[in-house]
Symmetry: C2
Amino acid sequence: MNFNSWLENKINNIENFIINIIGEENNPQGVIYEAMNYSLLSGGKRLRPVLLLASYELFKDNSTDVMPFACSMEMIHTYSLIHDDLPAMDNDDYRRGKLSNHKRYGEAIAILAGDGLLNKAFETGIKACLSCDDKSRGLGALNIIAKASGVDGMIGGQVVDMSGHEKIKTLEDLKHMYSLKTGAIIKSSIIAGAILGGADESELKSLEIFADKIGLAFQIEDDILDVTSTLEKLGKKTGSDIANDKITYLSFVSIEEAQSHAEQLTKEATEALSIFGDKAKYLIELAESLTKRDH
Amino acid sequence: MNFNSWLENKINNIENFIINIIGEENNPQGVIYEAMNYSLLSGGKRLRPVLLLASYELFKDNSTDVMPFACSMEMIHTYSLIHDDLPAMDNDDYRRGKLSNHKRYGEAIAILAGDGLLNKAFETGIKACLSCDDKSRGLGALNIIAKASGVDGMIGGQVVDMSGHEKIKTLEDLKHMYSLKTGAIIKSSIIAGAILGGADESELKSLEIFADKIGLAFQIEDDILDVTSTLEKLGKKTGSDIANDKITYLSFVSIEEAQSHAEQLTKEATEALSIFGDKAKYLIELAESLTKRDH
């Protein structure tokens, strides 16, 4: 199967799974289900669940069994976007080409929809663990995911990002913040997939190198797109980093240098997967597509 | 050991555990750890973790092993209070006699501190499961907790509560909302403790009856205290239900009737524990103390 067909197939499977996950809307608290689905089903690249599945498929042929874990990653990612968009945080009115959750449902429901998605991510993962043949692997994956999404990972990264110039003075400070804010969840998707697949220590080590490098490359590309892309392609306002006086990769290097760093990181990332041979082809194409994207 | 010594001992053990749980404050994202601890360590009755421990002790002598699960309940409870107090929700300035989290740290940090506590609750539970001898029991308990704290439990209850007069027209509607908003977490504390202890089906059934009844009794007492207590005793503004035009148990019955309902529910609850004999003595005293409290 070629990469594009493989990717389309994975995204279809993910969307078929998450469309049924939130539950019934036809009850007294229906609006919260609607609000959760509004953000969860509004498209997006589904990068994190796809990474988990691709990583798992380094070890197993069929990734159907780990779909709940993959979709947990998407729920965590979606909740973080809903809360980051709130007026008290980044105050963004648009997300993925639609009104952001609080602009559509109000702040109270948006806060609760985010809470609900974070909770549902763990609920889904725990339920999947309960029916795992190997509960230690399932719990090992959940343990990695929970650390990455928490205050020592993604949430901590958001805190540093909000503190802006006060805490981010050098490119190294920025890279550290990125490794928490976006890197931790990308990395945990890859590592959780590998743990579920039964990776050994040296395989995990290679995947950690791969994950750290593509996580940073992805974020550099995001900073570039905020300057070079359009609202139509990106689904959210461009130029917002400059407008909000945000520190980005481009605060320290030129666009050309940034693009070259992203490409170099991607090259090094894919080299780290050499031990997997041809089995890593989709993961490599996925990594390469991240620095060639226009949204 | 008499009840008061037992309770004091349990609360001490819980507080010794949670004081070490959040992590280091001495790093770039330190303020978020401080904000999480601010609410987590500000006292409170520790009712939910105590219930989990008391329920577990129906089956086992020593509850040290399940302390992480107990403290997860307190973290979930605390996060829900932080988010409920936000301006977009109940807009409360005080909690447990101190400024509410967002009044102290600002809205953005309060939202993230809530997120961080919910995440940490699962992180703590998952880590504890990983070292459980019987992983199925640990996962069974987490599964119950995750359902209860989610959109089909506590979060759903908050949504109905916020919709107010629109969705709550009868005493039955109100009881249903309470069974979600406060009842679900109280019940899941008791049931999770019992699952961890190895309860059989009939034991779980008795504990479910007990839990449903004391959950409602607890909430009725809360409604009464909002009218009859003082700021000093309650640690938050009294009379706020009336000021906010909230529907409470007292919207449907008199204070005297409400008190009598709470006592009757407590009596029926304790009767459901007869199968446990003397082993249930602390759980029964705990239930009885809930309708005699002044805060």
